[in-house]
């Protein structure tokens, strides 16, 4: 293909694509509503915070000491004391049926031994099916029990010496960036990256394949239209839609999920634009290769959503992956966008720290756009 890019032809394609989108309410709905729905579903469902773990308590002691321990569990936001079983059979039943996640068993001698300053065991039984949650819940339970036994020690020392002892180590803890340590604030920026990748690639994956399917492509390739004009013209309306989606996602994140943005808004949208070009071009590349809408959309889903969801660091920490898989994550552009958005949202970092991610996204966009244009052939068969 020869000849220079002609903006009149490019504009004609862009105009026609805009008309296609505007006159197809279903396509428009997918483009605007779907990302919002995904943001809602994932934003609310995907919480990694552990809140109000259902706890069953079997207090065999029934003393002020055992009630004190149980009240500490009741007072914690991490536990919600529910069932009060009266036997191991009932404890087992509650765990097996999933009515409780954890059970605290206080032995008969608890009150007596605590009062006399002797060592006593408290049993915690847990449903270990979900290892992560169990580990978290156990550590919360451990902290409560430790706190209580420490107080008993302090009280004992005060009685012996007449003054409270100074503990040798004092941990002063402060979480930066996400001060309340809410996983929502961490999840939403990453979620935006994943959704944008999927939606944009899905939208454009249909455009070229549709023209092959309906036969309009045969007419198009008989004209002087260049492949680059066709591809860029097709990108234009979806780029606008993608930016609207991005804006809506950011607004939803801010006002629905209450996720603050600490970094620059200009940088946020500027880098999003670059990321969008890459994702849109990937969709077009898939579309030119597939030549059928069904195949293209399925392939776009597999090629964008799964890696972006699983390998971008959004769901699983890349540092914990096997080395080979870690190497693969470098090929996933969502990885860079997730890092960028989290940095910008949570830490307010800018180009000074995030330039490698931005540069890699520019490289991805350029590569995808180039491949999309090159892979389009003005030939049949």
């Amino acid at each position: 293909m020869s000849g220079a890019l002609n903006f009149r032809r490019l504009g004609a394609v862009a105009r026609k694509e805009f008309i296609h989108v505007l006159r197809d309410p279903r396509a428009l709905a997918i483009a605007i509503v779907l990302p919002m729905i995904m943001l809602m579903i994932f934003g609310y469902a995907l919480t990694m915070d552990l809140d109000r773990v259902p706890l069953a308590v079997w207090d065999q002691s029934r003393t002020p000491q055992s009630r004190e321990l149980i009240s500490r569990f009741e007072g914690s936001r991490y536990f919600s004391v529910g069932a009060r079983p009266g036997s191991y059979a009932e404890v087992e039943d509650a765990l097996a049926r999933g009515r409780t996640m954890m059970a605290l068993v206080v032995p008969v001698e608890f009150g007596r031994r605590v009062a006399s300053g002797r060592k006593v065991q408290v049993q915690v039984l847990t449903d270990g099916s979900d290892a992560n949650t169990t580990t978290l819940a156990l550590s919360y339970a451990d902290a409560i029990v430790r706190g209580y036994s420490q107080e008993i020690l302090v009280e004992k020392a005060r009685r012996l010496t007449g003054r409270p002892p100074a503990l040798p180590l004092d941990l002063r803890f402060r979480a930066w960036f996400n001060t309340d340590m809410e996983s929502r604030i961490f999840i939403v920026p990453g979620l935006i990256a994943v959704i944008m990748m999927l939606i944009t690639a899905l939208l454009t994956s249909l455009t070229v394949a549709r023209e092959w399917e309906t036969g309009s492509m045969e007419q198009l390739i008989s004209t002087p239209l260049l492949g680059s004009e066709l591809i860029l013209g097709k990108l234009a309306p979806y780029f606008v839609i993608g930016m609207v989606d991005m804006l809506l996602s950011v607004l939803a994140g801010r006002f629905l999920f209450g996720v603050p943005i600490r970094g620059s808004l200009a940088l946020l949208f500027g880098v999003s634009a670059i990321y969008l070009v890459g994702a849109l071009s990937l969709g077009i590349l898939i579309s030119t290769k597939a030549k059928s809408q069904l195949l293209a959309s399925q392939f776009a889903f597999v090629a964008t959503f799964l890696p972006a969801f699983l390998l971008s660091g959004f769901m699983f920490d890349i540092g914990n992956m096997p080395t080979a898989l870690q190497a693969v994550t470098y090929l996933i552009p969502a990885r860079y966008f997730v890092t960028f958005l989290r940095g910008l949202y949570l830490k307010g970092t800018g180009l000074a720290q995030l330039w490698p991610e931005c540069l890699l996204m520019v490289a991805f966009g350029t590569l995808m756009l180039g491949l999309a244009i090159r892979s389009f052939k003005k030939r049949l068969a």
Binding site: M1, N6, A12, I19, E218, L220, I221, L225, A381
Partner: protein
């Protein structure tokens, strides 16, 4: 003769299938050339090779002096092409479709609206300019396709079965437009499976199973039929045709209630037909020598297709 389209042993294979086999032909400037043949003859393949959207397996072709492979993009400026399948956008209006193609061909803004009006009037689409293309009738869709292919005043027009599935009145309109274009020295390369339509062309090429069987004026092609064509009318024509075929009198074809028999000699053929039918006990109602039609040419040249 100025040749606008020329092919030299143009061949295209799809795997084992030879869709077009060594096509060699030439079309003069300002001519209406018809590529005639049944479905699967290779008409669409020829169109696609000439418009530079399909590469030949071997052989060469030139359109308006440009090579169909090496200068394919140059050709695209000078031709108008209407694919067999409606290739416009059903969700765009008549005018939006034409405007889109005007932009693709970089039709100068100056004088463009006059040209658009003229094309709309020419194709009787003016009242429908704001209608979505998807809501047009079959005939109007074809006229819109033609208008889009003509917006840039092409030198050569390639029309692949443009009147397929179009009602007779619209077909007549369509051909009226083609004759007007011919007056403007536009070369028209049209394919058709309709033989009555082939008769409207200046010259035709008969294509069958990828091979060019004949290429001449309609009269010239008809002249290729050696011998005399007899039209037989009789009782139970289907059985009579069987009897005549069994008698090996030459090519026998059934046209409704008439039988066409191609005989080497008129008088001897007439006698042989009468004898054969008499022997078969079939009374003859009429027997005369007639002028061959293109259909006769086809049935005699392609016997297997005629009986299919």
């Amino acid at each position: 003769m100025m040749e606008t389209v020329r092919t030299q042993a143009l061949t295209r294979r799809f795997g084992e299938l030879v869709a077009l086999d060594q096509l060699t032909l030439a079309v003069a400037e300002g001519e209406i050339f018809g590529l005639v043949g049944p479905d699967g003859a290779g008409k669409t393949t020829t169109m696609r090779l000439l418009t530079g959207i399909l590469e030949p397996s071997s052989g060469e072709a030139w359109v308006d002096g440009l090579h169909a492979v090496r200068e394919a993009e140059g050709i695209k400026d000078r031709i108008g092409y209407m694919a067999q399948r409606f290739g416009l956008y059903p969700d765009l209006t008549v005018q939006e479709n034409i405007d889109f193609y005007a932009d693709l061909y970089e039709v100068p803004k100056a004088g463009r609206s006059e040209r658009l009006e003229r094309l709309l009037a020419f194709s009787n689409l003016t009242p429908f300019r704001r209608r979505l293309a998807g809501n047009l009738s079959g005939g109007m869709k074809q006229k819109l396709g033609l208008a889009c292919a003509l917006i840039h005043t092409p030198r050569v027009l390639f029309l692949d079965e443009p009147t397929n599935g179009v009602d007779p009145v619209s077909r007549r309109d369509f051909w009226r437009i083609l004759y007007q274009l011919q007056q403007e020295r536009v070369t028209i390369f049209v394919s058709t499976a309709y033989l009555d339509e082939a008769e409207r062309c200046n010259r035709i090429g008969l294509l069958h199973q990828g091979r060019l069987m004949a290429c001449d004026t309609v009269e010239g092609v008809k002249g290729l039929l050696k011998g005399a064509l007899l039209e037989v009318r009789c009782e139970s024509p289907r059985r009579a045709a069987g009897v005549l075929r069994a008698a090996a009198l030459g090519s026998v074809a059934l046209f409704g209630d008439r039988i066409h028999v191609l005989a080497a000699d008129a008088d001897r053929g007439r006698a042989a037909v009468e004898a054969a039918l008499q022997a078969g006990g079939i009374p003859v109602l009429g027997l005369q020598v007639i002028e061959p039609t293109l259909e006769d040419i086809f049935t005699s040249a392609i016997p297997e297709a005629a009986h299919a």
